[in-house]
């Protein structure tokens, strides 16, 4: 059976309480619910913005493919992924990943798998701006290693 999934890409703030609450309510009878939230770090206190852009049609395709792959590897009930674009500041949430399964191991592994692929295999880009200047954030070697570890 195909896993129930919801995907959204938006430049609006993520309401994590609402997303978490809805995901937990929808999966009230699942044995395991894993929720991951990625935030903007405060690397330059008081002076940092992160601007995210994406190629939305391809990003949605990629995320759908990650979900299909995850559900072929683990026994999953439901996946919700919300990803921000636009201008963010420290403390803002970049990504919400919710995974539900009957048993904890499936949801835990799948959440990590989905994040590893979101980091370096979907067309999103981040530009960091601070008093130190601005630069495009490049994937780190560890991001590629994390993804490769699933092969």
């Amino acid at each position: 059976m195909a896993v129930a999934s919801k995907i959204a890409i938006s430049d609006a703030n993520l309401n994590i309480d609402e997303l978490s609450g809805a995901f937990r309510r929808e999966n009230k009878f699942a044995g395991a619910v894993v929720i991951f939230v990625g935030n903007v770090r405060d690397d330059h206190p008081g002076d940092l913005t992160l601007t995210l852009e994406c190629y939305e049609p391809l990003a949605l395709d990629c995320i759908n493919m990650f979900i299909r792959e995850a559900s072929s590897r683990w026994d999953l009930l439901s996946i919700t992924i919300h990803h921000r674009t636009g201008k963010l500041v420290p403390g803002d949430e970049i990504v919400f990943v919710g995974v539900a399964s009957a048993h904890r191991r499936d949801a835990l592994f799948a959440a990590q798998f989905l994040m590893d692929y979101l980091k370096s295999d979907a067309p999103f880009w981040k530009k960091q701006t601070s008093c130190a200047g601005s630069h495009w954030v490049m994937p780190r070697a560890v991001d590629y290693q994390d993804k490769k570890s699933w092969n």
Partner: protein, 82 residues
């Protein structure tokens, strides 16, 4: 044909999007990269870098892919999501 640039490629191109006349004799993504770089060596090097990915009609494509039926081609630097 629409040509899209993302991330630092957009900045190097000075635009997020350009268009290429349908009747121009360009057959592959590689040739398109050279055409849109229009002699700007830094942009051409970035477009043709090994780490740059391309998409035709929002599907990943190789640089050797044919542009036959291409309405939209995107050039994308390394991804950094999540």
């Amino acid at each position: 044909m629409r040509v899209l640039f993302f991330g630092n490629l957009r900045e190097l191109a000075g635009t997020a999007e350009t268009s290429v006349p349908a009747d121009i004799e360009i057959t592959t993504v590689q040739e398109l990269a050279e055409y849109v770089a229009n002699g700007k060596s830094e942009l051409q090097a970035a477009l043709c870098a090994e780490t740059t990915k391309a998409a035709i009609n929002a599907k990943f494509a190789d640089f050797s892919s044919s542009l036959n039926g291409a309405d939209e081609v995107a050039f994308m630097p390394p991804f950094s999501g999540g």
